[in-house]
Each structure stands twice: as structure tokens, then as C-alpha cells.
Amino acid sequence: MMTPPMQCRTLPASWLDDVKSSSSSSTSHTLVHSKQVSSWLPELRTLALGSNNITMTVYRALQSVITLPSLQSLDLSDNVLSGTLEGSFELYYCAGGSLDDCDSAELKTGASTVAVLLLASNFIEGGLEKVDTLPRSLSVFTISDNLLHGPVPEEISQLSVFFAGEIYMGTMGSIIYRYICFSSF
């Protein structure tokens, strides 16, 4: 059985706007990224792509933008993202040269600067067990209205806002949990 962390309480109505406007100082992560990406939108902090028809795996969507060096807020809600989150935050960087002929790639887990990630209303499946791959900078994460199942790890309480809507407990059939949780808000 899963119990929500003790400090959960309910959301005020306009929470998302409040949080988005206040969230943000960039982290002190150092990024090594390939030349292909580093020249592309180097100062971009907010990227809002919600409510489009973007049809691809969430892995591909996140991998293609999460390396933007200044990115703090990414909205991909209400699109057609599919697949699982597994590996989506695992970023491989080439020390030099293009991604096409990379001699050695270094895995930098959690090196993204993204603090606000909105993935609600897509078709993302699988589970949230591999929380250790979420970027350390992440404080607001919404993933409601997807096809997720499985247990929600305790580690998720590191987030200031985690809005998962309905989460099904896989092993217990279809027990539905709906909770909204703040750990420090």
C-alpha cells in the first residue's frame, strides 16, 4: 500500500501560475553538451509547447530539449507523447565534435537545469520507480492524465509540487489514488 507523505495538503486554485512565476533560480550544474545543441537557443529559459499535436515518444521529446543550457521551465502538456519516462533524463554528452561521430560519451544523470516540467495530458505509460533519474533541479512536476501505473516512490517528495492525478497500483489491481502533494510550499 502506498501512503502519501505526511505533509501533503490540498492545492490553492491558481497554484500553477503562482509557482511558475516564482520558480526558478538556475542551479549550479555544469553542463558539457555537444556542439549541435550548445549554439541553439543558449539563453532560453521558458519553452511552452503545450496544446499542440506533438507526436513522439516522451523520451525523444525530452532528450531533444532538455539539454538547452538555460532551460528552467518546459511545458509539453496536452500533446501526444507516448512511451515511458525511462532513460528520458539520462543525458549523454560528447566532449567534443558532433553527436554523429562521438568518440566517448559521458553520462550525466540529473544534469539538466529544468525546474518546472509539465507533462500532463499525454499518453505516457510505465511507472515512476526510477526517480533517481529526475533532474536534481526539478521542483514542479506534473504528469496527471497519462497512462501511468505502479507505485509512487517516497523519493518523489523531494519535489515542491508533484501533481500526478490518478495513479493505479499495479499489483493491487485498480486501486485509484488521487493526491496532490507539497513537500515544501
Binding site: 541553439w40 537557443l41 539563453e43 532560453l44 511552452a48 499542440n52 499535436n53 507526436t55
Partner: protein, 170 residues
């Protein structure tokens, strides 16, 4: 001070618009070439997006005597009154494809652009990446269909980009 001399050689009425244009450019301070560029760029935007037929409000637009910083609807200029730094044309009926407005992307002093809630379509122009001072770009609630794979020369200082509620796919 610019002095006009009109010589009465027969009908001189053809001369007047020409002289007005010269007057306009000579008072433009910074130098006539960027003023011309700005005028051409805004005119390109106007023509590519149905200025005459589709725009809800277009007061001041294309008025040479007024000048781009003289009160064209939705055009924001800097303190010097010479450089166009912003466009505020949300929900104004702009219709069409921006990739046709080549000169528009030469408005290098633009810092904030709000073209949201219009009917702009086609590919999202990578020309926005050529504007080195552009910090905020709001193209939400339009009909753009594809995202460029690169943005201009990489001189971008873009900080906030919204393409919410369009037709982006793939």
C-alpha cells in the same frame, strides 16, 4: 534644419511625396538606412499577414510621415524614439505565412514580440533566430505547423518562447 526649395517648373505636384520622404529620412536621427530597414520590415509583415484586409486595427501603419515610431498600432519603440523594440499585435487578425516576409527578420532591434492569438500558419520561421536582441517571443494560439531544427546563426538571446496551442506535430 532642412530647407525646401520648390521650383515652379510646370506642374511640380509630383515632387511633393518625394520631398516628404526625404524629410522623413533626414529627421530620422540615427541614419536613414536603418529607418528604411525598419519601414521595409514592418511593411513586409503588414503585407504578408493581410494588413489591408484582415487586421482588426492598423491605425498608423504604412504612414511614412508619421514614421514607424510615430504611433503605429502595436509598435513599441525605445526611448530615443528611433528603434522598434517591440510588437504588440495579439488578437489582431493577422493571417498568413511569415516566411514570405523576408525583410521583417531584419528588424534587429526587436526585443519583445507578441503575435499571439492570430491566424499565422506554416513553418515557424527560423528567421526569429536572426534577431540578436529578441528576448520574448509569444506565438501562442496560432496555426504554426512545424518547428525549425535550428534558429538562425545562434546569436539568439531568446529567453521566453511560447508556441502553445498551435498545430505543431512530429
Amino acid at each position: 534644419m532642412y530647407t525646401l526649395s520648390v521650383y515652379r517648373t510646370g506642374s511640380s505636384s509630383w515632387l511633393l511625396p518625394y520631398l516628404l520622404v526625404i524629410l522623413f529620412f533626414s529627421y530620422s536621427g540615427r541614419g536613414s538606412s536603418y529607418s528604411e530597414t525598419q519601414y521595409a520590415g514592418l511593411e513586409a509583415l503588414y503585407n504578408a499577414t493581410g494588413g489591408d484586409q484582415r487586421w482588426t486595427v492598423s491605425s498608423g501603419w504604412q504612414d511614412v510621415v508619421l514614421g514607424v515610431c510615430g504611433g503605429w498600432y502595436g509598435v513599441v519603440c525605445d526611448d530615443s524614439g528611433e528603434n522598434v523594440t517591440g510588437l504588440s499585435l495579439a488578437g489582431n487578425g493577422l493571417t498568413g505565412n511569415l516566411t514570405n516576409a523576408v525583410e521583417f527578420f531584419q528588424l534587429l532591434s526587436l526585443e519583445e514580440i507578441d503575435l499571439s492569438d492570430n491566424k499565422l500558419m506554416g513553418a515557424l520561421p527560423s528567421g526569429f533566430g536572426l534577431m540578436p536582441n529578441l528576448k520574448v517571443l509569444d506565438l501562442s494560439r496560432n496555426e504554426f505547423s512545424s518547428f525549425p531544427s535550428s534558429w538562425g546563426s545562434g546569436a539568439s538571446s531568446l529567453q521566453h518562447l511560447s508556441v502553445r496551442q498551435n498545430n505543431l506535430s512530429g
